[in-house]
């Protein structure tokens, strides 16, 4: 019943190899996510005060579908968003300025403004995109021209930022 040194050596090597093989194992899982539709914002209509006379305030209401500024938003359907604004305190014509002292806002899920919700653009709003992923936002304001307001074309940028 002799077992040669060679067979013992082979046995030892095989056992140790098996032992090493037995010491490690692994498995994998998957990380998954579904990215929703990005937000898209278009400045659809300018906020237009038209002709303004020195010393006579002029207001464009947010309900004024012709002259109020309008932003059109698209994104993931039925998803809450946050609206914030950068609002100029004045309109400018070269070195001349004309104050804006009031802003108003309305958002609705349709371009006719039906069922719209009023909000203060200074503090922003948190509406929800419609079932088709749309939102319409109107901005009105009041300019306060001085009695000696210089003649000219006055402009400024109103910026709206939308985030989920």
């Amino acid at each position: 019943m002799r077992i040669s040194k060679l067979s013992l050596a082979v046995l030892a090597l095989v056992i140790s190899a098996s032992a090493v093989q037995a010491q490690t194992n692994n498995a994998s899982i998957t990380a998954t996510a579904t990215v929703q539709t990005p937000i898209n914002v278009i400045g659809a209509q300018q906020l237009s005060f038209g002709n303004v006379f020195p010393g006579v305030n002029k207001t464009v209401a947010a309900t004024d579908l012709t002259n109020a500024g309008r932003f059109d938003v698209t994104g993931q359907a039925s998803t809450p968003v946050t609206l914030s604004f950068t609002l100029p305190a004045t309109l400018s014509a070269g070195a001349n300025t004309m104050p804006i002292d009031t802003y108003t806002g309305i958002h609705a899920d349709n371009v006719a403004q039906t069922g719209g919700t009023a909000f203060n653009p200074v503090t922003g709003a948190s509406p929800t995109l419609s079932a088709t992923g749309g939102l319409f936002v109107w901005v009105g304001a009041r300019v306060v021209p001085a009695t000696n307001q210089a003649q000219g074309v006055y402009t400024a940028n109103v910026t709206m930022t939308v985030v989920y």
């Binding site: 046995l11 095989v14 899982i29 996510a33 990215v35």
Partner: protein, 159 residues
Amino acid sequence: MKLLSWFVIGMALLGAALPPVVGAQGKPFTVTGVRGVIFGAVLPGVPRVISRTDPANSGQFDIKGVKDTQVQLTFALPSAMNGPAGAQMPIAFGSSDAGYSQAQVIGSQIGFDPKQPFTGTLSKNGRGSVFIGATANPVANQRAGPYTATITLTVTVLP
């Protein structure tokens, strides 16, 4: 006797060829991916965090082996998930985003850094579970669609 020697060699080689991975006591040593990390709906520009204690969305691996065995846990972690048309979305793992539970209970974990190897001990029943959370960081213009990545856990039995 030469015949006996060849028999021993033959049996040894046959044993080496057998596929099951077994522990020191002959019990199967297995690692199983039970559940993936599920971020669900993610909005562009809005990070989404999945906690390792989230019972529905955290990732889970189960380990079976010999009781009271010490095991080293090592993750292979992705840095991004792959999406449509080659798009990628960064995925991050915090210093306590992984957890080990000897009792295999999600509410009873020892947190650890999945980027570093961690040593745990299997239970009296030879069981243990590993949970993992993560953060998806979509950019503001992240392309819409499904994204996936693979997380691999390697378990090494320590001597």
